[in-house]
């Protein structure tokens, strides 16, 4: 049996990260935005409806649960969001005529979303830069796992502002 080859000391494994210096942050909130994932902010369980839900049922669901948005799922995949803003923009003035129509007609389709492993800065980006107030959190199969509301982000900011 051949003798096991032992590398010479100079051929030892060199860790490519041995000289890596983690980024230093000047502000505890900046560190949290970079290093904490959206899993820390998201709210569960989420309020969910299907695309064929009548608009009046979706409005009643928003009101009774006292939430500002419903995630609309079809076959376990997120396909839209129906929010207070959709009620204001698309529903309120024509409610009598629209209320029995499916919510898919008035929901926001293909909403911006984040993955659970994304940084919390991604959620803030959706709100502050893209202008959406409610950010669905999904898994790789596009199933909704949670939602991030502005209230949750406000609480996150409070928690991390002072380190």
């Amino acid at each position: 049996m051949p003798e096991k080859q032992v590398p010479a000391e100079s051929e030892d494994f060199q860790d490519p990260l041995q000289n890596y210096e983690p980024k230093e942050y000047s502000d505890p909130l900046e560190k949290a935005l970079a290093e904490k994932s959206v899993a820390e902010i998201q709210f569960r369980p989420v309020a969910v409806a299907t695309p064929d839900t009548p608009i009046h049922k979706a409005v009643e669901q928003l009101a009774s649960l006292q939430v500002a948005s419903l995630l609309i799922e079809e076959d376990g995949r997120l396909v839209g969001v129906f929010s207070d803003r959709d009620v204001l923009e698309k529903v309120a003035l024509g409610y009598e005529q629209l209320k029995d129509n499916p919510v898919s007609e008035v929901m926001t389709k293909d909403p911006a979303f984040v993955y659970e492993s994304d940084s919390s800065a991604a959620a803030l980006c959706v709100m502050a830069v893209l202008g959406f107030r409610h950010v669905p959190v999904i898994d790789v199969k596009h199933k909704a796992l949670g939602i991030i509301s502005p209230q949750r982000v406000t609480a996150f900011l409070r928690k991390h502002l002072n380190g």
Binding site: D84, F113, M127, A128, L130
Partner: protein, 158 residues
């Protein structure tokens, strides 16, 4: 030297935030009038003022959803009947930290901004605060890759 965000929030004032122009409606307006103005201005609330421009109350879009769920014809009712009269305000000279305190303690999305005489000066809220944070940390916030359809034709508005 750049100060930390919390120090900035205690020294910079509400006037430093990007305040929104509020939607103002008359006391005798209907909810339909308010909704029309809110849609036009892409804003989620309307404010009623007295003759001295002092805010008398605020009508938020969340209240619209609550009302519609109970009465599909509610848009024809006077807004005065459904106004939230003890809505929190901040002064334009208050530190920005006060915005965070008020949003959190009152669990609201909007804050009415008034001047030293209590007259309406603007509107801010969660979105204004988040824009302020994003502005402070552009290297973290503005560079994110977002899934879905992140570039809508229209922003959702405040």
């Amino acid at each position: 030297m750049k100060m930390g965000l919390y120090e900035n929030m205690r020294t910079e004032t509400v006037g430093r935030l990007a305040l929104r122009d509020p939607v103002v409606v008359q006391e005798n307006a209907t909810i339909r009038d308010a909704v029309t103005a809110m849609r036009k201005n892409k804003l989620g609330c309307a404010i009623v003022l007295d003759r001295n421009r002092v805010p008398q109350g605020l009508f938020p879009e969340s209240e619209l959803t609550q009302l519609l769920s109970k009465n599909s014809a509610v848009v024809n009712e006077p807004i005065s009947k459904h106004l939230k009269k003890d809505w929190p305000t901040v002064k334009i000279t208050d530190p920005i930290a006060r915005v965070l305190d008020a949003l959190e303690s009152r669990n609201v999305r909007f804050l009415i901004v008034v001047n030293e005489d209590g007259q309406l000066a603007g509107l801010t809220g969660q979105k204004g605060l988040m824009e302020y944070v994003a502005e402070h940390f552009p290297g973290q916030v503005n560079v994110q890759r977002i899934g879905g359809n992140p570039y809508p034709v229209d922003r959702e508005g405040a």
